[in-house]
């Protein structure tokens, strides 16, 4: 019903190729997250889906209909912008009613829809306020409410939480997740550079780099089975330890990757050792950074308070072989 099919999509701005042969099959009702470093093309891809940008070649179909040349408002989509883009001279009510008025919907129907959406987002008592009298979270909710009233098939989010403070971000993330539950037939495409948002919200994640899809899969798939060095290093915070050179010799690979929580402090049988250069206490767990003579320090995770301080000599080894990732010189995973 709300399938989004992206086939062989290319997008160039003049001579620069921003999107290269993107192919994605997004199922109806899925919450899909585009994630990647700055400049990877995720926002451009979103804007191509929305119709704010035209595509150079390929097709985009929503619910079976090719929408390449269709106006944005006719595609059955709604977009939530990073900067909210609320209409500053209109009250919350009129902001939300705007698109419905343009559609020519009768007034009482508009009123019903707007109030229903406001109810859902707890905005009912703000309906008469102007955007400048709202807090950041409230403005974001109005932006979402504006999109909800259109009953779109596809919801597009363009980094909606980047402008919020950390606490508010957590709260809004929960609300967006609940929104996803409340609208099971609506496909949601969410762009972010924050992989915590990606991991927590997504049914599937699309990792993009330089205009190319690196990997598509569920969060756990990407976390446990990265198909490339880039994805391995991108997903997971803190970043997976990537060891090269003589540090990877033992495992006969160009690069060896092991996550911080998959390392243990060794007593004598350590693979890598060095001096602790930093110990981060986060309350529930702690991260120890060890200088093993490589470019980057080795990070190991420990439960509870940090048991080591700066200057301690520590030796670590992987917990087991299943959580050790080996990559060749091209960043492709090596099978055993």
């Amino acid at each position: 019903m709300a399938e989004l099919l992206i086939e062989n999509v290319n997008k160039s701005f003049g001579k620069t190729d921003v999107l290269k042969d993107i192919n994605l099959d997004i199922k109806s009702g899925e919450f899909i997250v585009f994630v990647g470093p700055s400049g990877c093309g995720k926002s451009t891809l979103l804007r191509c889906i929305s119709g704010l940008e035209t595509i150079t070649s390929g097709t985009i179909s929503i619910d079976g209909r090719v929408v390449n040349n269709m106006a944005p408002s006719k595609r059955g989509i709604a977009m939530v912008f990073q900067t909210y883009a609320l209409y500053p001279h209109m009250t919350v009510y009129r902001n939300m009613a705007y698109s419905l008025r343009l559609m020519g919907m009768p007034k009482d129907q508009i009123d019903k829809k707007v109030r229903a959406a406001a109810e859902k987002l707890e905005l009912t008592k703000y309906l008469d306020r102007l955007p400048k009298a709202l807090s950041g979270g409230q403005r974001q909710r109005v932006a979402i409410g504006r999109a909800i009233v259109r009953d779109p098939k596809v919801f597009l989010f363009d980094e909606p939480l980047s402008n919020l403070d950390a606490k508010l971000r957590v709260q809004m993330r929960i609300e967006i997740a609940q929104l996803n539950d409340d609208l099971p037939d609506t496909t949601m495409v969410y762009v972010t550079h924050d992989q915590v948002e990606a991991m927590t919200l997504a049914d599937r994640i699309v990792v993009l780099r330089d205009g190319v899809v690196e990997q598509v899969g569920s969060p756990i798939e990407l976390y446990e089975k990265p198909q490339s060095l880039f994805v391995a290093g991108f997903i997971g915070s803190p970043q997976m330890n990537l060891l090269t050179g003589h540090n990877a010799d033992k495992y006969r690979a160009h690069t060896v990757g092991v996550r911080a929580e998959h390392l243990r402090v060794a007593n004598g049988d350590g693979v890598w050792s060095g001096e602790v250069m930093l110990a981060e206490d986060l309350g529930a767990d702690s991260y120890i950074y060890i200088d093993i003579g490589a470019d980057q320090p080795l990070v190991i995770r420990q439960d509870g308070k940090a048991k080591y301080t700066i200057g301690d000599k520590v030796s670590v080894a992987p917990r087991d072989d299943t959580h050790l990732y080996r990559f060749d010189a091209n960043g492709r995973p090596l099978t055993q």
Binding site: I77, L86, L130, P131, R146, N163
Partner: protein, 397 residues
């Protein structure tokens, strides 16, 4: 949605001790310079205002900066003939007043000839050639007493130096307002100014939107041309435009001169600046708002009317003020494009007719200037509240 909001009370900051305001030499200097500049800027207007409430005669004699001090005038008055003498207490007396009523003058010194008018103080008695002594008082009253009857046929002159007390009055304004045709001229100016302000703004708003937010080939070139037109002096195009009007008038059998032509002329002269200013303002509006409106299904026209125009009120108000003021004060375009019938004489033209044949009726000109300022002031103060800062606050973070 139901997610409970976790409210944590923020710790109250310690009250900071208030800091003393920084008074430095630099800031005093800046404020002083600002004050001087403002004073210089408003000086001519103050002078004009003072001049407009001064007595007409005084205005002709001295500048407004002396308005508060008494001026000295030298005049002469003729004494009455012998026929007016009365006899009292055995003497023959001629009495009267050298000065007119309400002249505001006081006699300081007097004399019988031009050369001697500074010799005697008011209140002194001097001997007259025709006999007797005359005492002239400061208020102008005189008493000429002689023991023998007066026989002169023509009263001699008394020359005096009088101090003119500064006199302020609003009779200049009354004279201007009541002068012939002033109210008509007022209405004519309004008839000219209002459409000639509205039309260019409407046209410019559409043009500015297209140049700011619509993509079409040649857009940049158009912008450059319009900015280039700002340079063209108005005077250069007066004759060609009037020739064009004459041709059109001949072709259609209508009058070449008239309001329609003047409205169009003012529109043409005002459009480059209006489009330039409006376009610059519209380009600064947040792109996301336009995109959001587009996603909501707004066509270019809908975006223009529902988004851009409301958000452009500050710029529209500024241009309205500029254009209105320009037209209201304009004489040249009105002279060229409007006829000379009564119903086409604007305020500026009417004020010229008040100037007098020698162009010396200063008192009328200054009063007229201030009368004609009233309407622009009303326009300015009523539109000023549309200069709202922070109109965009809250929409885009």
């Amino acid at each position: 949605m139901g997610a409970p909001a976790i409210e944590m009370a923020a710790p109250k900051p310690l009250a900071a001790a208030p800091r003393a305001p920084r008074i430095s030499l630099g800031r005093i200097g800046v404020h002083l310079a600002l004050f001087v500049l403002v004073a210089l800027w408003t000086l001519p207007t103050i002078g004009l205002l003072v001049s407009s409430v001064r007595d007409a005669d005084q205005l002709a004699v001295s500048g407004w900066w002396t308005a508060l001090s008494a001026a000295d005038v030298q005049e002469a008055a003729r004494l009455p003939t012998a026929a007016d003498q009365i006899e009292e207490n055995g003497a023959f007396v001629l009495r009267g007043n050298l000065l007119e009523e309400d002249s505001g003058k006081t006699i300081a010194t007097f004399g019988t000839t031009n050369a001697t008018l500074a010799e005697n103080q008011a209140g002194d008695a001097i001997e007259m050639r025709d006999g007797g002594f005359i005492t002239v008082n400061a208020d102008g009253t005189f008493e000429w007493i002689s023991q023998t009857p007066f026989e002169h046929e023509r009263g001699p002159r008394i020359y005096y130096v009088a101090e003119l007390q500064p006199r302020f009055t609003i009779e200049n304004y009354e004279e201007v307002i009541e002068s012939n045709g002033m109210d008509r001229a007022f209405l004519n100016s309004l008839t000219l100014a209002i459409p000639a302000t509205i039309i260019p703004i409407v046209v410019a708003a559409f043009a500015a939107y297209a140049l700011a937010w619509m993509r079409f080939p040649g857009r940049t070139f158009l912008v450059v041309v319009i900015v280039g037109l700002l340079v063209v002096p108005l005077q250069m195009s007066l004759v060609p435009v009037l020739q064009l009007y004459n041709q059109i008038a001949d072709a259609f059998g209508v009058e070449a001169k008239g309001y329609m032509g003047t409205w169009l002329a003012h529109t043409g002269f005002g459009l480059p600046l209006a489009i330039f200013l409006l376009r610059n303002y519209m380009v600064g509006l947040p792109k996301e708002i336009m995109e959001s409106a587009r996603m909501d299904g707004a066509s270019h026209f809908k975006t223009f009317t529902t988004m851009v125009l409301p958000l452009s009120f500050p710029a529209l108000a500024s241009i309205a003020i500029f254009q209105f003021l320009w037209i209201w004060n304009d004489l040249l375009v009105a002279l060229v494009f409007l006829g000379s019938q009564d119903d086409q004489t604007v305020l500026t033209k009417q004020l010229i007719s008040l100037l007098g044949s020698y162009g010396d009726s200063w008192h009328l000109l200054t009063a007229g200037a201030f009368i004609s300022i009233v309407v622009p002031l009303i326009v300015f103060f009523s539109l000023q509240r549309y200069f709202v800062r922070g109109l965009l606050a809250g929409s885009v973070k």
